[in-house]
């Protein structure tokens, strides 16, 4: 009753075996069907998330948003897709044609590949590889390569500059992201995402290490290049960044990849830090676990949209400073704190929460003190040379 996923898989398996296929081939066919369904659902989901995001952003800004095509404008994205599909794909003169066409495919691939290891419910996951966390890091960064290829092949200065800015930012933010991924690995004693989710019973890792969850969330946002980290499309500086020369459906693919990646961030954060499908009764009824998973994902995705609607874009030097000077040291400190505290804490479950929380509080306190000292030194500097600074800025403008 509660487990339709295994039921469907078993039904298909029996059906294929009934045709007289050998078990190995049957497994392969089932995996292929699963992969096809995953990829299709992931890509179709973007139709919905793009609409949702436009609608929500509009509401944040006191507008109506898309409301013409279909009920509540629900089919607006479908119409947009149809239009992009029938638009000419321009390849600029002097562009590196094959690289130019491959780049968007790679970017989409890197996002879809992330979905392979996510456990959506106790019995619903694509593959349970034992190196899941590192797999996420490596396949996710292939997108960086796609962006660089797009910039290199476009034969356009803005595209090149935008691509390299983006690559610099993605490299910067990959460092704290990888470091924080050590914490769930450490606490679960495994890199497999299924094991990580199972280890979050009864305590979610976000409670044990809120700093790690925060850093992961923020640096993933930067990896995608959402506002406030969207300097790759800073129109006033580099027009549209690396995809300036893309048109039609090729541009659409970058768009799809970005929006799907934003949703995937919510999925991954839920899996790694917010207990995945964990919830009351989820073990017994996998479908319930799937519902919990969707609810948590929806909440985190809403926060992503909220952030996008709220914060202005950061400057490139600020962006890189945040990564190297705040998030990376903080991530290193969080790994060290968690490693020591968890070794010292006796017991399991809720018993280890107080010490972990105390550690987080101390760490946050130290960070705030460091911020304060830094702000003081800045203020002192600007007081010392305040006049000359004002003059130079006037002269500069």
């Amino acid at each position: 009753m509660g487990d339709p996923f295994t039921l469907i898989a078993d039904f298909l398996r029996d059906l294929l075996l009934g045709f007289g296929l050998d078990p190995g081939l049957t497994t392969a066919i089932l995996k292929f069907v699963g992969a096809a369904v995953t990829a299709t659902i992931a890509l179709t989901l973007t139709f919905f998330t793009i609409w949702l995001e436009r609608k929500l952003i509009a509401r944040f800004q006191d507008r109506l948003g898309p409301n013409r095509v279909g009920p509540y404008g629900l089919f607006q994205t479908v119409a947009d897709f149809a239009k992009l599909l029938t638009k000419e794909v321009l390849v600029p003169e002097g562009a590196d044609r094959s690289v130019f066409m491959i780049a968007p495919l790679l970017v989409v691939m890197s996002v879809v590949g992330l979905w392979a290891v996510v456990p959506f419910a106790p019995t619903l996951f694509g593959s349970d590889i034992n190196v899941g966390v590192l797999y996420l890091v490596s396949i996710g960064s292939v997108g960086t390569l796609g962006i660089m290829m797009a910039g290199l092949s476009s034969n356009n200065k803005y595209a090149l500059l935008g691509a390299f800015r983006t690559v610099a930012m993605m490299l910067s933010y990959a460092v704290p992201m990888i470091l924080t991924l050590l914490i769930p690995t450490m606490l679960a004693g495994s890199m497999g995402l299924t094991k990580i989710v199972e280890a979050q019973n009864p305590v979610w890792f976000v409670i044990l290490s809120p700093i790690a969850a925060f850093i992961f969330y923020i640096s993933s946002l930067a990896e995608v290049g959402r506002t406030p980290f969207d300097l790759m499309e800073a129109e006033s500086e580099i027009v549209a960044g690396f995809h300036i020369e893309y048109s039609g459906i090729s541009f659409g693919m970058f768009f799809v990849a970005e929006f799907l990646h934003a949703f995937t961030i919510a999925v991954l954060t839920v899996t790694l830090f917010f207990g995945g499908w964990q919830g009351p009764g989820a073990e017994a009824f996998p479908i319930l676990g799937f519902v919990y998973f969707l609810i948590k994902t929806a909440i985190l995705y809403f926060v992503i949209i909220w952030i996008r609607a709220t914060f202005p874009r950061l400057r490139i030097d600020t962006i890189n400073s945040i990564s190297w000077k705040i998030l990376t040291p903080l991530a290193l400190a969080a790994v060290i704190f968690t490693a020591i505290i968890d070794k010292l804490t006796p017991g399991d479950g809720w018993a280890r929460v107080p010490l972990h929380l105390a550690g987080s509080v101390i760490l946050i306190g130290l960070t705030l003190i460091a911020f304060r000292a830094y702000a003081r030194s800045i203020r002192k500097q600007s007081e010392g040379s305040g006049k000359s600074l004002a003059q130079t800025s006037e002269a500069g403008s």
Binding site: P104, M109, I129, K157, V175
Partner: protein, 118 residues
């Protein structure tokens, strides 16, 4: 043992094939009327001046190098993190010593101004 990877081996090609299908569909549906002005590189509506090749800053390379070093550090640390539950305290401290050395490297880069975006 290969079984979990079969799914990935299917999913990753599908991740390329599905968008490629969309682009192929575009080939069938969309008009194709190239002309020199349409094909020219976009540069704020003006004619493109000079070569596309722009001199990049050395900063990109430094960021790339620091990223590479932290990446390798993480690769060393992940097995340590997987085995963490079964390690004694002094073994955990060895891993932390490893992290601290690298943190020293980061501090050096910071003091030398290599992290500034100039």
């Amino acid at each position: 043992m290969h079984e979990p990877w079969i799914f990935i081996a299917f999913l990753i090609p599908l991740g390329i094939i599905l968008p490629a299908t969309a682009i192929g569909l575009n080939r069938l549906l969309a008009p194709r009327k190239p002309n020199p002005i349409k094909q020219s590189t976009y540069e704020c509506g003006m004619e493109t001046v000079g070569d596309t090749w722009v001199q990049l800053k050395g900063q990109y390379y430094i960021f790339g190098l620091i990223f590479l070093i932290f990446d390798i550090e993480a690769v060393f640390l992940f097995p340590w993190a997987v085995a963490y539950q079964q390690l004694q305290l002094y073994m955990v401290l060895e891993g932390i010593f490893f992290i601290l050395l690298l943190a020293g490297g980061l501090l050096y880069a910071w003091r030398r101004g290599a992290l500034e975006w100039v």
